[in-house]
Assembly symmetry: C2
Homo-oligomer: 163 residues x 2
């Protein structure tokens, strides 16, 4: 009986070990899957910001839906692109710098930092080539890895304080 | 041998079953723990906003660290409370309305909506008792369920457009 018990214990031990290995590898796979999903949306967002900084407008449709809304208004992909092109025209050294990025699918929230030189008027302010620093706190709603809603607030008061 | 194999197989099966039960219950506990953590932070945040709307200032220390920072400046709990009390003094019908809340521990991002009547000047604008609607996009960094950093942008341009 003792020998039999040992054999059974050994098998039990192996079975338990095997299950623990299974359990650990499953957790790893699961953990990775969660990480990939989460990372995916932040990676998509980082690629979107890189696209803006390169002014790679033909690529914009990879990140933005045709029927995108900006602050509650349907601007569409073309309107969205025009808005961005206008920004780069008014601010030739415009560069989007992600200061804080949080993701809670289907949402992404980002605090963007800017240090740039608007040529003339910006947000109704006569900046006239002065270098200013300011932030934008912006929320995005994604659908199938593309932006469909944007809610943005730019810190106009910070710019005013520097003029 | 066949009988012995059956007995061993049976034990193996039981061991596997036992591990599967362990694995499932562990996943449940883990899933719940994740859900509770996530819900906890949004619940804590909702309670914080309720505290502000009730102007329950003695309770504020439950939600805000002594050494809290606001837009990069250390204001401390007392400075934070003074800022909020000043807001309610300047805007007697101030009410914080959560429009969008996303959580990615230790961060919370919230889009707050306001429809209120600042008595005189607000953000340097002569509102003078006009009812205005605007939003605030705000990020919070929590430590041990208390706010230790706030990065806020209020939509001043939206208020200006209504004056």
């Amino acid at each position: 009986m003792a020998g039999g018990n040992d054999a059974i214990s050994g098998i039990l031990f192996l079975a338990v070990e095997f299950q623990l290995v299974l359990l650990c590898s499953r957790d790893l796979v699961k953990g990775q899957a969660i990480a990939v999903n989460k990372t995916d949306l932040t990676n998509v967002y980082r690629d979107y910001i890189a696209c803006l900084n390169k002014q790679d407008w033909p690529k914009l449709e990879q990140f933005v839906h045709d029927d995108v809304y900006y602050n509650g208004q349907r601007v569409g992909l073309s309107g969205y692109r025009e808005m961005l092109e206008r920004d780069f025209n008014e601010i030739p050294d415009l560069y989007f710098n992600i200061q804080l990025l949080i993701s809670d699918s289907p949402y992404v929230a980002s605090r963007l930092g800017f240090a740039c030189t608007p040529k003339g008027k910006f947000l109704g302010l006569h900046v006239n080539g002065k270098r200013v620093s300011f932030t934008e706190n912006v929320f995005y709603q994604f659908r199938e890895e593309k932006i469909e809603q944007v809610w943005s607030v730019i810190d106009k008061a910070a710019i005013e304080a520097q003029l």
